[in-house]
Symmetry: C4
Subunit: 367 residues, 4 copies
């Protein structure tokens, strides 16, 4: 925190917003966000190849509809790990929502609950996990953790999460080194003062513990630690290879989260949609698969599910919605995506989420 730096003033409007599409609100959000905040959210790492590829890879897949199927009111609801969702889309964990809006994570949490789906609380939040849980209200919630260097601090977070009513732990494994996000430096933007961190160590035994220090040499022992100390199902987030997906199943993980961190970690990682079919083969239906990174359209949700996902996650568009309208903006983003998914299911002739299969998705014909 640089005492001399100018304060960061995030938007604070709470209002209904009109979401034409999840792509459009990026441009709208850019107008209301301070440049550093916008590029912190929008940017990726390195050359941003993976960031672009996440969306470009969908353009290599077409949807082959089944007309005259007799479908009239497709049902987009689904369940995952016992939670009933209004749509197969959840809120991916992202750090520091205070860059997007004065309401911070409480706004995304409320908006997600209002949309009837699942909120995944980031551990690197500006608010505490307890305050965020309160904002989620009766909605479904999971807690994401970066495994800290000190196991005592890990234990504290896992136990707080359990106590706050989170029903699953999401362990992120693709961030044992910071990704080289270069946008701000290239644009000459100065980082603002730190916006506060909501999950500082509480136990006296952890006094002076630096919460930024993460464990680098993660293994499945740390997965087991999370399982044991939280007593909750554990999902591994960051899976990009069939081998790791299979190992997650073997080690009793409750879910496999296919992600490249939205193109923010290792640039030149593959697009998630590109590796999904092989991962689904490796998992073989033994655990639910969550996929994020690049989902912007109802057709993307449909294609990801068709290729093996149970549920997809979205990230940046939620922060844009938050910036533009607070919790109502977040809800509107989810509702727009849900409407596009319903439209896609209707036009493709699919009555329910479980019936979206690879029959409907194929590589763009190159004839």
């Amino acid at each position: 925190a640089d005492a001399g730096a100018a304060a960061y003033v995030a938007p604070s409007s709470e209002q209904k917003i009109n979401v034409i599409s999840l792509r459009d609100i990026e441009r709208q959000a850019e107008k209301v966000l301070p440049p550093f905040g916008f590029h912190f959210i929008a940017g990726g790492s390195g050359d941003e190849w993976t960031l672009r590829e996440n969306e470009a890879a969908f353009d290599r897949l077409v949807i082959e509809p089944n007309f005259l199927s007799g479908v009239k009111a497709p049902d987009p609801t689904t369940t995952i790990l016992g939670a009933k969702l209004s749509m197969p889309v959840l809120a991916s964990p992202m750090g520091m929502h205070g860059f997007a809006h004065s309401g911070k994570e409480a706004g995304t949490a409320k908006g997600t609950s209002a949309a009837g789906t699942l909120y995944v609380t980031p551990s690197v939040s500006n608010l505490s996990m307890e305050d965020i849980a309160a904002a989620v209200g009766g909605g479904a919630r999971w807690f994401q953790i970066y495994f800290p260097e000190d196991p005592g601090y890990a234990r504290e977070q896992l136990q707080r999460a359990k106590a706050a009513g989170y029903t699953a732990i999401v362990l992120t494994v693709d961030a044992t080194s910071f990704g080289n996000r270069e946008r701000a430096a290239k644009l000459g933007l100065k980082p603002p003062p730190h916006l506060g961190f909501g999950n500082m160590p509480k136990s006296p035994a952890l006094a002076g513990q630096n919460p930024d220090l993460q464990k680098k040499d993660l293994t499945f022992d740390d997965v087991a630690f999370c399982q044991k100390e939280s007593g909750l199902p554990v999902i591994v987030k960051g899976v990009l290879t069939p081998d790791l997906a299979a190992a997650c199943v073997t080690h009793g993980c409750a879910g496999v989260w296919v992600s490249n961190h939205g193109g923010r970690q290792l640039d030149h990682s593959p697009a998630t949609i590109s590796v999904l079919p092989r991962i689904a083969d490796a998992v073989g239906g033994k655990a639910p698969i969550i996929v994020d990174s690049g989902i912007r359209r109802g057709q993307d949700v449909f294609r990801a599910i068709g290729l093996g996902a149970s549920v997809v996650g979205i990230g940046r568009p939620l922060l844009y919605g938050l910036a533009l309208g607070g919790a109502q903006g977040v809800e509107a983003v989810f509702q727009r995506l849900r409407a596009e998914l319903v439209m896609t299911m209707q036009l493709a002739g699919v009555a329910s989420v479980d019936k979206i299969t690879s029959r409907y998705v194929s590589a763009t014909a190159k004839l």
Copy 2:
């Protein structure tokens, strides 16, 4: 209809126009059309990927000519369902020609007849199907229908079509939900007052019926309904998969219309030219195949026929021609495309439409 909205003033000129190519007139038409009207016509749905892909897919196909073939005056005429056409190109049904020209569908109908080919009347027209039939005059005509929610209204339309001299029914199956056409909203254009609807329910029993309500859970029972109530051959429009094409044949359809609605319905549907060869295999010559979506050049007509189409449809260029010159503009568009087809046949060494085969079309060599 917003009573306070500014009136929509469509072009009304009736004149000969010089069509350099069907691509060029898009730019010319943009200059004479009100922005909402132009983008209503030109736009597609979602990210407009399918809209672009419809044309881009042709760039992956080359024509391999047969020189020294002894051909001198290629014959572009053909017949379909008993109608003799001056070229294997017909007018695809499009809604509300009043956006393009004050003459509405009568202009496109007259221009199409003048060009010697077949007009497919849209059910969502600004003029009535009877007025449009009169404008077609002695020319060939089919009637396109969106199957309404009320079967009585469906029956009324089918019987009116039969009575008005239409010789086939085209049942559109790819529009059981509105496509998310986003251009106007993105551009901030306000929809004008409604331009009027020509086929409102007439029977007292249908009083108060909302003509916009379409049946969503279409099946082949509805195809049979069309066949029975009209007593006319029925063509299914919107076929994108071999399975549906084969089912159309099984259910006695008189034709299979391969279309993605010009990229206006389910974005990320495949380009029609990309799926055509597999569909032609499935149909196996048991029914004529019509293809539209992306046809802009005589070479496109040639390639589509080479890959299995009997006849192709064109859409937007006709509305551009209409905007620029009324019925004469429409005729000029057809004549330009016909001239390009004749040139292509001459240069490729093909004497007649039935001799255009896959021998002349192949994937661009990637050597």
Copy 3:
């Protein structure tokens, strides 16, 4: 010829020019040529897809050099049909050089001879074939013909060509209909008055004959006519398929000229370099193969020969050189290409033209 149109004033400078590359002089020539003339030369037909593809297809081929080969002074000379050439590059026939320079075809002919290679006289020339032959001087020369509708006129041209010392006839077969070259119309450029035609019918029996009328229904009978009436070897120009190439061999043609007319005739014809390997297989070494359309670099000459060409032709760059410097400009274009070829041979480790094989050329690795 429009008597009221403004006169067309072509450049007339005669000077040495510095050719950095054959691509660069296009931009330089654009500055000195009247717009109609420049676009007449530079343009292609239709969407100019084939025009672009002719060059783009080379970017899909890499040269795999053979270093440490001991080569020190590669020999770029070759022979074709008995003519010894300073390089395996000849002047493709192009119509109406008067658009490029006041010296018309005499300039390109002189420059080509000065460069030590072969001139192919176009029949649609502004000067007469006899005047052009005189300009060629002692250099090698062939005569290109568009077969006219009247066989008497064909005979006259063939016999004049023989008498003027031309040593082979090049019969163009890909132009039985005019290609739809649209540039001038799109740009709103008006055609200038006709620049004169050098090969008008001379025999009284042909009085009133329209020299623009070409025979459309060409067959191998017309090839035989050319062979018989000229007594010269006949090369068929415009071959794009293996079948036609094989038939040329069967019918005793002296050469197979692979060309798509520089992208000026049937748009969406394949790039010549893409079809060359299959054609070379079909010819099986039984006739020399000439290839043009898209050659701009020494590496292009090298790759074309590597894939089966005996000699390549260049077109537009010669007219740009002519526009910039008259005959000296034409010579400079040839010399630049020759220097690039020698550099390519040296770096690739190939001592002579006959040793350039497919061992050195392969598809760009897509690894």
Copy 4:
């Protein structure tokens, strides 16, 4: 040397620089370099296809990470021919560093040594090889040679190199003819006066020898000459084919350097990363492989090693660093690349350079 030409004033600042990425400093360096110098460094030959392809080819390869591997502090050090390096990245030989900085090759040499890696001295240097060796100090150094036409001059250079403490000879084989670098001519930039040549012949027997004359007809006899006269290991630089790589092994070469001269020699040579796997197969582990041309990111280093390289070379970015900060700038470039490599190894889950294998690298999934 043109006595009348304006003097060339290269940058001369010595300072720490902030290297966001190796791509970014190109833009920064352009601002401080005289245009001729910048384009001399940045440009390639011909159409610069190979220049672009060198980087583009990496975009066709993804990194498939191995998360939960337990790696915490990846070791980027390696050894090559007995030299211990701080990272598997060395300084590729480039001519005339005086274009970049007043410190000339001494700056790049010092910066490379400071970064703890290996400097390859170019024979076409502005300083003498002895002065450069002194600047390298205790660091590892090799000497690159263009084999001169006069074997006596070759012998002199080889013996001077040995005497100056160079531990290997790098014989460049891809430059027996100058590449057609066209940028300066296209931009109308005039070459400045010659900046001096550091390795002029010294022996009286070589008086009057033109040092620019290189031997064109190189063979493995010349490789043997280098081996014999220097008594040092010899590495062949410029290998692009498996055949030549295998021959190098057979002829006792100490290393195989895969390079296309940074796209500065034969344009349309393949990207080095594209040919590397086949070359690695041919070498079969019998000699170390160095690869350069297009390496700009830690991920590129990682992918090149994964596909078979032992060490990679970088070129232009070093001259940009030199221009911006002298030796400190060069060191900063190396350190940035090393940091990116360490980050990549950590995220990919690889503990040491020898464990980077093809398991981590695959073609971009085209699904």
